[in-house]
């Protein structure tokens, strides 16, 4: 059971007009509490894979089983943090999280409890100070923190991160990565993260899944990152195991599976 908490088996996705499938026979088993990154070049179908797990896209073949139940359609047990935060601009930060809480936990919690839980999640992502601000009034990094807070507030079984830090500047990104690491350590949430940032993947993940170039993308290689937690980005810079892991991913991405555009040139 713990070995395959999230079981992606033989998932193939093809779009009606294309001859070749986007993803072909993806097999991936994720343990409870594990942090797994999926990395690959642009257009390889990483986000497609995440959308299948989220239930936003139906696989043409294969299936996904979460905690012993086959998934069908989207649901709060697989909360997604979208790349462009996707906060509702007419709601405040508090209301954005509260809407998700009300919608997903109204049976389990009373009204006062839901209010407390919303505040708790705002505090978890350190955004209590902006509870009454609207998304347009806060920075990109803060929006993404609210997005993460909203996802966590649904008490998901697995947290799906779709290039969550891609649109942020380097310093903000580092700050958010540290926050996600500490939240993961605190809550033990199972995480599947899509990224194209090698350092980010090595720093955050227990395992890195490398996809070959699409279409017809497959899992090329899976790398175990054997670095004990908690991890400190400064200490790791010089750590030979960190450097080796980084080198292995870079080697895969840039030597054996060059970016499609460059290969053609």
């Amino acid at each position: 059971m713990t070995a395959n908490f999230l079981d992606i088996s033989d998932v193939t996705v093809s779009f009606p007009k294309a001859r070749v499938p986007v993803l072909n026979g993806i097999d991936l088993k994720i343990r409870r509490g594990e942090y797994v990154s999926v990395i690959g070049h642009s257009g390889c179908g990483k986000s497609t894979l995440l959308n299948v797990v989220a239930g936003l896209l139906e696989a043409s073949g294969g299936g996904v089983v979460l905690d012993g139940k086959e998934i069908s359609g989207p649901g709060p047990d697989r909360a997604v943090v979208f790349q462009n935060h996707s906060l509702l601009p007419w709601l405040t930060c508090y209301e954005n999280i509260r809407l998700a809480v009300d919608q997903t936990l109204s049976r389990a919690m009373g009204k006062a409890e839901r209010h407390e839980w919303t505040l708790h999640n705002l505090a978890l992502v350190r955004m209590t100070h902006a509870r009454d601000k609207r998304p347009a009034e806060i920075s990109g990094g803060m929006k993404q923190r609210i997005g993460i807070g909203r996802a966590l507030s649904m008490k998901p079984k697995v947290l799906l991160l779709d290039e969550p830090f891609g649109a942020l500047d380097a310093l903000t990104r580092a700050h958010l990565q540290d926050q996600v690491m500490s939240i993961h350590a605190e809550l033990g949430t199972t995480v599947m993260m899509i990224t194209h940032d090698v350092d980010e993947a090595v720093l955050l993940s227990d395992r890195i899944v490398m996809l070959t170039n699409g279409p017809n993308a497959r899992i090329g290689e899976i790398l175990e990152v054997e670095l004990e937690r908690p991890r400190d980005r400064l200490a790791l810079v010089a750590d030979p195991r960190f450097i080796a892991a980084r080198a292995a991913v870079l080697e895969f991405l840039h030597h054996r599976h060059t970016a499609p555009g460059l290969a053609a040139a």
Partner: protein, 290 residues
């Protein structure tokens, strides 16, 4: 993130010590200045136009009265819009009120039906294919062209006028609402799907607020068109109303009255438009301008 916020705060005392002395509270003149800068240009334009008008209409062969004559002839209309001597001999306020009441009824009707139809077309491709060509043709029919048919169908002035307002203003509301619903970002739909927001709650919490800026654009265009249509319709229909007031003044050659009425029509139209913009801004909580 905290560090970047704190740095300027820590440095602030040093800066004020070296920099210029703190600004004294701005004087009254300084505070009125931006206001004057905004008000002066339009005021000057109006004054220049009035002067030009006085000059152009002041000659012996002029067909239209100059502003001085308008003031002499129709001063009472400007200074006392509230008199009521029975029949049609009322102040402009009462005429405007009657017209605004018709607009209120006709426009409310078109807002409700327009938004509902727009939501349907925005959601259902079938409804769009079925109705859109029809709407595209009907919306180009000028308001007054509906009046004879409308009079024949309702056989009374009041409902005919209201129908003309409705049929004129409903199209932009339908079309803008439909576009708004179609343009609800996929991201918001995805969020709704993940938290399993469905049915009426999905409409109330996601689709309507997301489409609201578009809907209010449609309502704003619609209210402007209603005001255009009512003036024209009332000219033909008669009774109390600013449109008939203008027509009546024309029949009794009171050109000065017509000019005063035109100013009132313009100002009311302007106020209706601003009102709709403000309501839209409040309801969409500022996202309409974003």
């Amino acid at each position: 993130m905290n560090a970047s916020v704190q740095t300027p705060v820590a440095a602030a005392p040093a800066v004020t010590a070296i920099g210029p002395a703190p600004m004294p509270a701005p004087s009254l003149a300084a505070r009125l200045r931006p206001l004057a800068e905004r008000v002066a240009p339009p005021l000057l334009t109006v004054l220049a136009l009035v002067a030009l008008w006085e000059f152009a209409a002041g000659g012996p062969g002029a067909t239209l009265p100059p502003p001085s004559k308008v003031w002499a002839d129709a001063g009472e209309l400007i200074t006392d819009p509230f008199f009521d001597r029975g029949g049609l001999d009322k102040g402009l306020f009462w005429h405007l009120l009657a017209s605004l009441q018709r607009v209120a009824v006709g426009f409310t009707l078109s807002a409700v039906i327009g938004i509902a139809t727009g939501l349907l077309i925005g959601t259902s491709t079938f409804a769009m294919r079925a109705l859109d060509p029809l709407f595209q043709v009907l919306r180009t029919v000028p308001p007054l062209a509906w009046l004879p048919l409308s009079l024949a169908a309702f056989r009374e002035a009041q409902p005919s006028a209201i129908f003309v307002i409705f049929i004129t203003s409903v199209w932009p509301i339908i079309i803008n609402t439909a576009v708004g619903v179609r343009n609800v970002p996929q991201d918001y739909r995805n969020v709704a799907a993940v938290i399993r927001l469905r049915g009426p709650a999905y409409w109330a919490r996601i689709i309507l607020p997301a489409a609201a800026p578009y809907i209010f654009t449609g309502l704003r265009i619609g209210v402007g068109l209603s005001w255009l249509a009512i003036i024209a319709a009332e000219m033909l229909i008669g009774g109390v109303g600013i449109g008939f007031f203008i027509w009546d003044a024309w029949n009794s050659s009171n050109l000065s009255d017509i000019i005063v009425a035109l100013f009132y029509v313009g100002i009311v139209g302007f106020v209706l438009d601003r009102l709709m913009a403000v309501v839209g801004h409040l309801v969409t909580r500022g996202t309409a301008t974003a």
